[in-house]
C-alpha cells in the first residue's frame, strides 16, 4: 500500500486508515495524482494535428491508387497545385477580396441593425412592445428564401448579396443581445442604483457589460451564418467572388477548383472564429471560464 502521493498535511490518509475497524489492513486506497502528472507528454498542438494529417494521407492514398477518381474528388496534391496556380494568376485572391468585402459589409450592417434593435427593445419597454414582436415574426422566415425577392428589389449587383448577409446576421445578434440585456442580474442593477448611478450610468456600467457575453455569442453565430449566406448569395447571379469561381468550376467538372474554394471558405471561417475568440479573451477577462481537462 503506497501513500507516498498523499500530501503531508492531509488528514484523510490517517482517517481512512483508522476507519473500518473490522479489517483495518484492507482499506482500498486510490492514488489521487496531481493533474500535471496525468497529462500525456505529447504536446497539445501535435495531438490536435495528427487527426487531420492522417485523414489527408488516407485521401492521397485513395486517389493515387485510383480508388478515388479525379471527377469525383481530386487528390490533395492536385488540389494544392491548382490552389497555387489560382493564387499565382491572381484569380483566387481577387475572388477572396470580393467575397470578404461582401461579408464585411453585410456583417457591419447586420451588426448595426441587430444590436441597434436589441438595444431599443432591451432597454425601453416601449421599444420592446414596438420592436420585439415584428422581429420575432420575421425571424421565422428562412432568410435564403428571400433571395428571389431581393433580386427583384435590388437587381443583380452587390446590393442583394449584402442584403442577404445582413438579414442573416441581424437575427442571431438581435436575439442574443436582447437576451443578454434582459438577463442582467436585477440585484446588480439595484446595487448600481444604490450607488447613485444615473439611468445612463446604469446602462453603461451595468447593463451593457452584463450583456456582453451574450452579444459575443451572438456575434459568433452571426459569423457562421454570414458565410452560409455568402455561399447562397454568390451562387445566384454572381459574376465575381468565390461562389462564382465554384459555379464556374462546376460547369467544367473541376472538382479540384471546387475543393480549393471550399478550403478558402473554411479558412475564412476559421479566421473569423479566431477573431471572435480573441475578442472574447480580451473583453471577458473578468469571467473565469472552464477550459476543459
Amino acid at each position: 500500500m503506497s501513500i507516498s502521493h498523499a500530501p503531508p498535511s492531509s488528514p484523510e490518509a490517517d482517517i481512512s486508515l483508522k476507519s473500518g475497524p473490522e479489517n483495518p489492513t484492507t482499506v482500498d486506497v486510490v492514488p489521487l495524482l496531481p493533474s500535471s502528472s496525468r497529462r500525456t507528454r505529447v504536446p497539445r498542438w501535435l495531438r490536435r494535428t495528427t487527426g487531420p494529417v492522417l485523414l489527408l494521407l488516407l485521401w492521397q492514398l485513395l486517389s493515387s491508387t485510383g480508388a478515388l477518381t479525379a471527377d469525383v474528388l481530386a487528390s490533395p496534391g492536385r488540389i494544392a497545385q491548382v490552389g497555387g496556380d489560382l493564387i499565382a494568376d491572381g484569380s483566387l485572391t481577387s475572388a477572396m477580396g470580393t467575397s470578404l468585402q461582401r461579408v464585411a459589409a453585410g456583417l457591419a450592417l447586420g451588426t448595426l441593425v441587430g444590436t441597434g434593435l436589441a438595444l431599443v427593445s432591451g432597454l425601453f419597454r416601449v421599444g420592446e412592445d414596438l420592436v420585439d414582436a415584428p422581429v420575432q415574426m420575421l425571424r421565422t422566415v428562412p432568410f435564403v428564401g428571400l433571395i428571389p425577392l431581393f433580386i427583384i428589389w435590388f437587381g443583380i449587383g452587390e446590393a442583394p448579396k449584402v442584403a442577404i448577409i445582413t438579414l442573416g446576421v441581424t437575427f442571431p445578434l438581435y436575439l442574443n443581445v436582447y437576451a443578454g440585456i434582459r438577463g442582467v442580474d436585477a440585484q446588480l442593477i439595484e446595487a448600481g442604483e444604490s450607488l447613485g448611478l444615473s439611468r445612463w450610468g446604469l446602462v453603461r456600467h451595468v447593463v451593457l457589460p452584463g450583456a456582453l457575453p451574450g452579444a459575443l455569442t451572438g456575434l459568433r453565430y452571426s459569423l457562421g451564418i454570414a458565410w452560409l449566406a455568402l455561399v447562397f448569395a454568390e451562387q445566384v447571379n454572381a459574376d465575381s467572388g468565390i461562389g462564382f469561381l465554384m459555379v464556374q468550376a462546376r460547369d467544367f467538372l473541376r472538382t479540384d477548383v471546387i475543393v480549393v474554394c471550399l478550403i478558402v471558405y473554411a479558412f475564412l471561417g476559421l479566421l473569423a472564429d479566431f477573431i471572435v475568440r480573441s475578442l472574447e479573451r480580451l473583453l471577458l477577462q473578468w469571467r473565469p471560464t472552464f477550459t476543459g481537462r
Binding site: Q187, A191, G192, L195, L197, P209, W286
Partner: protein
C-alpha cells in the same frame, strides 16, 4: 409626491433630505434624526409586510435590527435605501446613504477598485479606492477581478464600496452572513471601529443576537410589520461577551424572538 426637507440634523450629518412620499402629517421632528419613519406601510399583493411602522435613528447611532426570517427587514432596508418607492407614510433619510447587501453584489466586469469608486461624482481617483480598501484590509487585492475574491474578501470590498461614499447612514443587510466564524469576528470588529471613526448612523440587519448586542446602541426586534420590541444596550465598549450583563441582554432578546412574542406585541 416627494418633498425635500432640508434641515440641518446635526453639526456632522449635513442635512436630512428626501422625504419619499411625505404624508400631510410630516410634522417637525422634535429631536434631530438621521432616520425618521412614521406610518410606513408596504404591501405585496395586498399583504402588508410593513404595517404602519415607526422608527427613529439618531445621527451617529448604531441600531441593530433582528427578526424572524421573512418579517420584512430587507424590505425596510431597501425602502430606507430609496430602492423601493411603492410605499405609504413618511420616510426621512439622509441624502448620503450607502448600502452593503447580504450578497456582495460587486460588478464582475470591473476590477475591485473600480467597483469601490463606481457611482462617485466626478472622475474617480484610484487613490480614494485604495484608501477605502486599506481600511478594510484589502489593499493587496485592488486590481483583482471580483470573481477571484474569496467570500469574505468580496464582502469586505462591498463594505469598502459603501464606506467610500462617506455616508451619514450606513445600511447593512446581514453583511457577515456568509463568513466563517473567525472572519466574522474580524469583520464585526472592523465595522465597530469604522463606525466609531466615521460617526455615521448604522442600521444593521442581522440574525445573530450576540452580534447585535456586541455592536449596537439599540437593538430592535421586528415582528408583525412593526418594531415590536426595543432594547437599549448601555454596556461600555469594547464589549465583553463574557460579561453577565451581556448574557442577560442576550437571553432577554432571545426570549423576545421566541414564539410567544407575537401575541405579546399585539
Amino acid at each position: 409626491m416627494a418633498t425635500d426637507v432640508h434641515r440641518p440634523v446635526s453639526s456632522r450629518t449635513a442635512q436630512a433630505g428626501q422625504a419619499t412620499q411625505a404624508s400631510p402629517a410630516a410634522h417637525a421632528v422634535p429631536v434631530p434624526q438621521a432616520v425618521h419613519v412614521d406610518g410606513l406601510t408596504r404591501s405585496f399583493d395586498g399583504r402588508a409586510v410593513i404595517d404602519r411602522l415607526r422608527l427613529d435613528v439618531r445621527p451617529g447611532e448604531f441600531v441593530a435590527l433582528l427578526g424572524r426570517s421573512g418579517c420584512g427587514k430587507s424590505t425596510l432596508l431597501r425602502i430606507l435605501a430609496g430602492l423601493d418607492r411603492d410605499i405609504e407614510g413618511t420616510v426621512l433619510v439622509p441624502r448620503r446613504k450607502a448600502v452593503a447587501f447580504q450578497a456582495p453584489r460587486l460588478m464582475p466586469w470591473k476590477k475591485v477598485w473600480r467597483n469601490v469608486v463606481l457611482g462617485l461624482p466626478g472622475k474617480p481617483d484610484r487613490a480614494v479606492a485604495e484608501r477605502a480598501l486599506k481600511e478594510v484590509g484589502l489593499d493587496h487585492r485592488t486590481d483583482a477581478w471580483p470573481k477571484t475574491l474569496s467570500g469574505g474578501e468580496a464582502q469586505r470590498a462591498s463594505l469598502a464600496r459603501a464606506l467610500v461614499r462617506e455616508p451619514d447612514l450606513l445600511l447593512l443587510d446581514e453583511p457577515f452572513g456568509a463568513l466563517d466564524a473567525l472572519t466574522r469576528i474580524k469583520a464585526q470588529r472592523l465595522v465597530g471601529e469604522l463606525w466609531q471613526r466615521r460617526g455615521c448612523a448604522v442600521l444593521l440587519v442581522t440574525h445573530d443576537v450576540e452580534e447585535a448586542v456586541l455592536l449596537a446602541d439599540r437593538v430592535l426586534v421586528m415582528d408583525g410589520g412593526v418594531i415590536a420590541h426595543e432594547q437599549r444596550v448601555d454596556l461600555d465598549r469594547p464589549r465583553d461577551i463574557t460579561d453577565p450583563r451581556f448574557a442577560e441582554l442576550r437571553a432577554g432578546l432571545l426570549e423576545r424572538l421566541g414564539v410567544d412574542t407575537a401575541a405579546e406585541a399585539a
